[in-house]
Structure formats: structure tokens, C-alpha cells
Subunit: 200 residues, 2 copies
DNA sequence: TATTTCGCATACGTATTGTATGTCAACTCA
DNA sequence: TGAGTTGACATACAATACGTATGCGAAATA
């Protein structure tokens, strides 16, 4: 008890974000009702408007929180790779699996882009893309892969993983689909490696 | 004049779809008002509910129309490729450019998935994915590329193109971005070709 | 302790949706 | 051909959810 005001504010915001996250994940953004949402958190819409300016603002906050978690999880995995390439591949596969989780899928892949537009334009930019981009640049510096535009390549790879995730999560046998996706992904990534045949 | 009833029905539906398409493309699905939408078509919401069952139903119809157009455009381009590989690559690049168009981007890439869920589960399935899948299967039969799960690979490729399109359309210099994306895409696709180094 | 700040609740007006009902033209069939 | 039926579409209504304007009370400040 006897919390500072600052702490109480942070707590209400956290409660709202938590509640919103659950509601958005379960019902989707459009079907989520702000009255229910705030009531669940023991508050009213007044608090929501005060802190986040509206429904979209709340979504932004939720997305930021989720992305921070994803970034943490990803960098933990990436740091374990013995080589840059391994880190890159393992991170990609981890991303594939994370993006197959219902909450992330619904909020980050479906509602986020529709409401907030292209993820790369988000306030706290899509961290996962920058992470991929960094990996690519590092690999190029090391001479492990071909020279490409790192941002373009990162967006392609990210999109590929997202597309596969959407498929995996909505298929009858996600386990099997995931395996197939990883196999195919590795084939694609082999194109990055240097010793390749060229074609017109 | 003196149209048959059937023709008039088709005409009202077409008018609604046309109007919805414009509205969805311009304001997005969520911000599109059905009253405005139908008034623009010289009708009321009554007609909309009668023919499409609601806002989502109208979106489905709009998406179907757009996808049919995309399929037509794509197959025209694909049929021109001298080899299966060329057809595949040209089709992919064409898809990349089509998906960068504002209308397609807004309706098919952003609102569609958010409202209707994973595109591969749509009524008239995402034709472009099946098209990609068919190309891959054909290339495998011809022995031109490695053996992979065609559906998984198609979804990866499709996702990659979509991700790149989103980026291209929202960047300062779409022209340059498009070129970079194509270059990087070709590098990735080279991974499909047979004579590749393997890696663990 | 008087005053201000501001976190949050309450109250209100409005916009948009879905449904229930009504109407009139076009088709069916004797 | 004309009475009956269907159904395409409009109108009317009720419910929901949103944004804003306002109010209150506790903490911060002096």
C-alpha cells in the first residue's frame, strides 16, 4: 500500500493493457468493446481515454508491449547461436513459431496492420525486422552471404515467415506444417549463400 | 431499358460492389459507413443486407472481384514466359507490383485478413497462392528445382512478396524499393535451384 | 491549510449497425 | 390476362459503442 502516485498510474495503465491484450486476442480489435474491456480491469472508459487517447492508442500500447516481449525472446535465442548464420536461422525459426501463437497472430499480424498500417511505420518500429536486417548485414560483412539490400531482404524474409505463420496457425496439423515450412525456408535461405549458380 | 429482373439484380449488386470497393479502398473497411456507401450507389442499406447479408459479406464480394481480376492479370503474364521458370519469376514480380497498388494493398492485404482471417481460408481461396503452388509443382516435375512441400513454399514466397509490397508502398521511393525487392527476391529464389551447396 | 493538479468516473449526444416490417414491381399460372 | 405470389429493396426502429464534455476527489505543492 501507500504507493506513490506514479506507481498507481503505471498500475492502471498496466491493468488496461493487460485487459485489452486479452480482449483483443480473444475477440479481435473491432469486436472488442471498450466498456467491457475497462470494466474487466476494474476501471471505466474515462481512464482509457485519459491514458491512451482512445481505442487505437490502446492497441498501440498493447502492440508495443508484445513486440518488446518478442524482441526479448528473440535476442535470447539469437545470442545462443554459435555462428552468425546459426543465430539468424534459429532466430527466424523462433519467429516463425512465435508468430503462430494465437495472441501474436491476431494482434500483431491481423489487427495491427489493418488499424495502424504497415508495421514498419509503427512508432516502435517492428523490432523483428530490424533484427533480421542486422543479421543480414553482419552476415554480409563476414562474407558469408551475397551482397543484397539488407532492408529489402529483411522485409522479404519477414514476410515469408509471417505468411507461413498464418498458414501454420490455420492448418489442421500445425506441427507438420511447421516442419514443412522450416524445411522450405531453409531451401530459400540457401539462396543467400555465396557459392550459387547464377541465372538471368 | 426493359431489362430482365435478373439483369437488374446483377446491376444493383455490381453497383454496391463498385461503391464499396471505392469506399473500402479510400477509407478502409472500418471507417466505411454503409449509409454513405449505399447512397453513393443510389441505394439503401436494405439492398446491401438483402444481397450480401452485411458489411462483411460485402467485403467478401469485393475481395472476390479483386482476386478474380488479379488472377486474370497474373495468368496473362505467366502465359507469356518462355520457360516455366520465367513464367514463375515474372508472375511473382507482377504480383509484387500489383500488391503495391493502394486499392489492393488496403483491401486485400490489410482489411481482408483482419476481417476475414487467413486468406488461405477464404471462400474463393487466395488464387495467387494456388498459382504459385502450381508453378512450383511444375518446376519440380521438370526437375528444375529442389523437392519441397509445394504449399509451404508457396506460402513462404507469397508472404515474402506481400511483405515486400507493404514496404514498397509505404516507402519514400517506391520505384527504387521495388527494384531492390526484386533483386533480393531473385537471390532468394536462387535457393530453389538444384545445383546448390548444402548446409546443415 | 489553502490551492492546484490531474487521474479517473459520470453523463450526454451521436453515429452506425442489425433487424423487423412494409411496399411495389415483376414473375407464375389458371 | 389478371389474380396471387415472390422477392428486391426501402423504411422504421432499437441497441450498441463511440467520443467529448464535465465533475469529483485525492494527491501534490506552496
Amino acid at each position: 500500500m501507500a504507493q506513490k502516485r506514479e506507481d498507481m498510474i503505471a498500475e492502471t495503465q498496466a491493468k488496461l493493457i493487460k485487459s485489452a491484450r486479452e480482449s483483443f486476442a480473444q475477440h479481435g480489435f473491432a469486436e472488442s468493446c471498450m466498456d467491457d474491456l475497462t470494466a474487466e480491469a476494474g476501471l471505466t472508459r474515462g481512464a482509457l481515454y485519459h491514458h491512451f487517447g482512445g481505442k487505437k492508442g490502446l492497441l498501440k500500447a498493447v502492440i508495443q508491449q508484445i513486440e518488446e516481449e518478442m524482441t526479448t525472446r528473440l535476442s535470447a535465442i539469437k545470442s545462443k547461436g554459435p555462428t552468425t548464420w546459426d543465430a539468424f536461422i534459429n532466430g527466424s525459426i523462433a519467429y516463425l513459431n512465435m508468430a503462430s501463437e494465437p495472441e501474436i497472430q491476431r494482434i500483431i499480424l491481423l489487427d495491427g496492420p489493418a488499424v495502424l498500417g504497415d508495421p514498419s511505420q509503427w512508432p516502435r518500429k517492428n523490432c523483428c525486422i530490424s533484427s533480421t536486417q542486422l543479421s543480414i548485414e553482419k552476415l554480409m560483412e563476414e562474407g558469408a552471404i551475397q551482397r543484397v539490400d539488407s532492408l529489402a531482404m529483411a522485409r522479404l524474409i519477414n514476410g515469408a515467415l509471417l505468411g507461413a505463420s498464418l498458414w501454420i496457425a490455420n492448418t489442421d496439423d500445425p506441427q507438420a506444417a511447421s516442419r514443412k515450412a522450416v524445411d522450405s525456408f531453409l531451401v530459400l535461405m540457401s539462396g543467400l549463400l555465396k557459392s550459387n549458380t547464377t541465372f538471368s
